[in-house]
Each structure stands twice: as C-alpha cells, then as structure tokens.
Amino acid sequence: MNAPAYNFAYLDEQTKRMIRRAILKAIAIPGYQVPFASREMPMPYGWGTGGVQVTAAILGPQDVLKVIDQGSDDTTNAISIRKFFAKTAGVATTTATEEATVIQTRHRIPEATLNENQVLVYQVPIPEPLRFLEPRETETRRMHALAEYGLMHVKLYEDIARFGHIATAYAYPVKVNARYVMDPSPTPKFDNPKMDNCPALQLFGAGREKRIYAIPPYTQVVSLDFEDHPFEPYRFNAPCALCAAENSYLDEIVTDDKGGRMFVCSDTDYCEGRQAAGHHGSLSAAPYKEKAQEASNG
C-alpha cells in the first residue's frame, strides 16, 4: 500500500481538465477574464490560490518549477508553494530563471528574458481593472464586452489632476491585443514593457475571484496613457547595493532609524547571478569573504 497520498499536483484530474479548458479559452481571447470553478486550496486566499491552481493544471512530471514572491525565491510564500509542488507532484524545483519551465510569480516578472519554453503564472488578487471605478460586476462585464474603456482613463486623469503625473505605480492597466483592458496583477509598472511581445506564455489566476486570463506568446500589450502624459516605467535612481545593476527593479530596504537605506535588486536570482559573475555593489559582502579566506589560508 504505497499509493501516493495525493493525486499528481494535488488537484484531481477532472478539476485540472476544467482549469485547462478555462486556460485554453483565456489564451484564445487574450486579456478576457474567463470564469472558472475555483477550488478551496490548502492555503488562505491571498496566498496565491489562483496561481497554484493554474500551476497544478499545467504542470507535467518533466517540468522544472520556480516560484517567486516579490522577485524573491526565499520568502515564506515562495518556499511553501515550491515545497507544496515538490511534495504533491514530485517535480524538480529551481531558483534559476533560465532553468525553469514554469514560473509562478507574485508581484514581479523576472529580470532575465523569458523564452518560448517557459510559462509565467501570476497570482492575481483582483482581476477586474475597473473594479474600484465601477463596483457592479454586471456593468464591468458589459463594459468589457462593448470595449467601453473611457472610465479607465478617468482614473489616470484623476492621478494627473491630483499628483501632476500618472501616480499609479503598480497594477498599471494595459490593453491586450488592442482589445481587452487588463489588470496585470500588482506588478510594478516597471515590468509592464516586459509583457509586450513576450515569447513566454503568461497565465493569470485569481482564486478568490474565480477568474483566469492569459496573454499568449508574442502578443501586443500596451500600457494606457495620455498623449501629453506618456507611460513611463519607474525605477529608483540608484545601482543595486549588492550587484551594482543599473537596469533592474530595486527594493528599498531601511537599514537603521537614522534614514539609512539600501537599494537591492528585487529579483534575487538575477542579483546572485550577477554577483557570481563578479559584479559587486557598494555594500557587497564579497571583498570581506575573500579576506576571511586569506586569513584562514595564512
């Protein structure tokens, strides 16, 4: 009696079929939110129940899984989801973006360029970009159906009127394939250009809201803006303190109570890769390691 305690990748086969059908429909209509019968997962809503269901439905035994949370491979959420699939599906896991075939992500797109053999699975809290402007679900669905997106610009207008520029910094609305306006999940707007014409398949799962949507490979994704206030990705004006990268998205880390702070890459795998390749930032520990080595040798 050595039968595994779970079906492969936790969900039963019928559920996975149902989710795959939703995914296929989502791919067929880029940016359209497909309803699906979201299941209870052994984790609370808000921890990625949608993303986990999508990952479970597309995972095969040969896949290599990477999970990131805010760009990091070693936060609680990322580690527990990675262990969840290592246990229930027995798939190989990795932290290296290049080696992964399925990447589940919360709030970031990896810095490394993705390729055609990869699938990026986003965890989405609120799939409806018009939600805070129009509370009625019936009405937002009708607006999507009729492509009435004037309201989305009302939000951007409000930003400029209040702050002088488009202050939306994350979950920045995009238009997919010149048709549906889509919420790219709470990724920073820095990542929006990476979605455009991306070789990898991008899938979005919202567990609590029971929606799946997708951007097929090589699809046009345009960030909404005004002619006189064009879209601009935002990044702190500093190099990474550990790897000196000038073009990666940075996290701000407060280091003391006197205003001290450091900026480091949010994508830990990218940062580690650069450090291993010999790039060192102002606060890198690498020089001290070498000294310690010399001391022990001598």
Partner: protein, 265 residues
C-alpha cells in the same frame, strides 16, 4: 448651409407612436404619440404616479415598450427605431448625442472622482486622449455652468446641491448632444437656486439649440423653459399644446385643477 439647417429642422428629431407600457395589470403609460423637433423644449407635467417617469424611460430606450415605438433621427439624418438599436449603439447614443439629467445628481455623477474627470469622462469615452485638451474643455464647461474653475479638482460630494446639478448638466452637454432628457432637474433645490438653474438652462438651451424633454410636476418650470406642454394623468396624455395656451387657458378639468392649485405669488 442655411438651407440645410432649415431642412433639418423640418424633420422631427424624435417620434413616439402609440407608446404603451404596462407592469402586470398596471398600465403605466397608454397610447402616447408625439413628435419632437430640433431645438424644441417639451415639458411633461402631471402629478406623481401619472406615468411621466415611465414615459421618459421609454423615450430614452431604458425600458422596452409593451406596444408602440420610438424613432430617433441620428446625426447622419436617418431615423432609426430605438428598439432595433444594438446595445452598443444605444449606449454610444447615450454618451454622445443624448444627455440625461437626473433629479438626484448622485445618480448622474461619479461622486468620488473630481469635477474635471466627471465632465471629461464622456470625452475620454469617445476616444479623447490628450490630458491638457480634456482639462481645458472641462474647465471651459465649468465656467459656462457658473462653477468656479478653482474647484475643478474637487469631488462633487464636496459640492452644494445646486452646484452638483449644474455639474451634472455640464457633464451631459460636453459632447454637444442634440437631445437632453431631464427628470425633475430642479427637484430638491431651494427657490433661489432653482431660479438660477432655470435661468442657466434656458440660456444653454437657446445657445446650443438643444431639444429637451423635461419631466416636472412644477408648472413654473414648465412655463419658464418649455415651448410645449403635455399633461399626463393615469398614464394618458390628456391635454397637449403650446405652454402659454395650456397653462393660461386649460381645457381639461384636470389641467384646470392643476393650474389653479398653484399658490398665487
């Protein structure tokens, strides 16, 4: 050009033919027919429950009629039956060529977004994509409805009742509609504010050559704004004619009652 205008004005903008609507056994509206010409202001008066608001909803395509039909002459000059319009076309009409002024401004405005965005929403909905131009147009319209442009970034929930109503009017007129529906636009405002609003409406209607269908129980509003009056009772139109004719020389007993019930100033 003048000939073209003359020709246009000769044809009705909106034609209602034997419109009826019943809710179960209750006939809210029975056999209403009329034509509305460009630039004409028609007041529908009557006591509450007489079917005025139902009629307004039928005319604006928000309710489907049980019998009869409404046709509207589009900007290209072709008259179309409202019932045959697709939902997308009807909503487009509502955003561009029509306006709807609600009694309660909270229904017609987005209370949480700024006045400028409220006015600009229709422009953005028809594809305006230049912040500076949208804002200029919005501030221009606020001036026209006598709202201080310094308040362009304030949300309407910080506005007084009269300002909200004027903002709602600006929001509706920004796309230069040809037909505006008004449902008790002065309801709930105090008398001096009403007077200013009516004054404003009258000048805008004349200036923009608007056709207006205004539902009101206030005969003073009808007298000030409208060219023609329709009196409704129990879902039927019982009397119709030029405003001064109906109000000064009412024929039907009910209209006489209605007119005589106004307190002398």
């Amino acid at each position: 050009m003048a000939d073209q205008d003359l020709l246009d004005n000769d044809e009705p903008l909106l034609v209602a033919k034997s419109l009826s609507k019943s809710f179960g056994r209750i006939a809210a509206c029975r056999d209403v027919s009329f034509s509305l010409y460009p630039g004409e202001v028609l007041a529908i008066v009557g006591e509450s429950g007489s079917g005025k608001s139902t009629l307004l909803q039928l005319l604006s395509g928000q309710l489907a009629a049980s019998a009869g039909h409404v046709s509207y002459r589009m900007r290209d000059g072709v008259a179309r039956d409202l019932a045959t319009l697709g939902e997308a076309e009807r909503r487009f009409l509502f955003r561009t060529d029509w306006g709807f002024v609600h009694q309660d401004p909270a229904q017609g405005l987005r209370m949480a977004v700024s006045a400028g965005a409220n006015v600009g929403e229709r422009l953005m909905a028809v594809g305006w994509n230049h912040y500076g131009r949208i804002r200029d147009t919005a501030s221009d319209w606020l001036t026209r409805v006598e709202i201080d442009t310094a308040r362009i970034d304030d949300a309407p929930r910080t506005y007084s009742g009269g300002m909200r109503q004027r903002l709602q009017i600006a929001r509706n007129l920004v796309t230069e509609p040809r037909l505006v529906f008004m449902d008790e636009p002065t309801g709930g405002l105090d008398v001096s504010v009403q007077a200013r609003l009516l004054d404003l409406l009258r000048s805008l209607v004349a200036e923009l050559h608007l056709a207006v269908i205004i539902v009101t129980h206030d005969l003073a509003v009808a007298r000030l704004l409208s060219h023609r009056v329709m009196v409704m009772k129990g879902g039927r139109v019982i009397e119709t004619g030029l405003t001064d004719q109906v109000l000064d020389d009412p024929r039907e007993p009910y209209t006489q009652l209605l007119v005589s019930s106004i307190l002398p100033p």
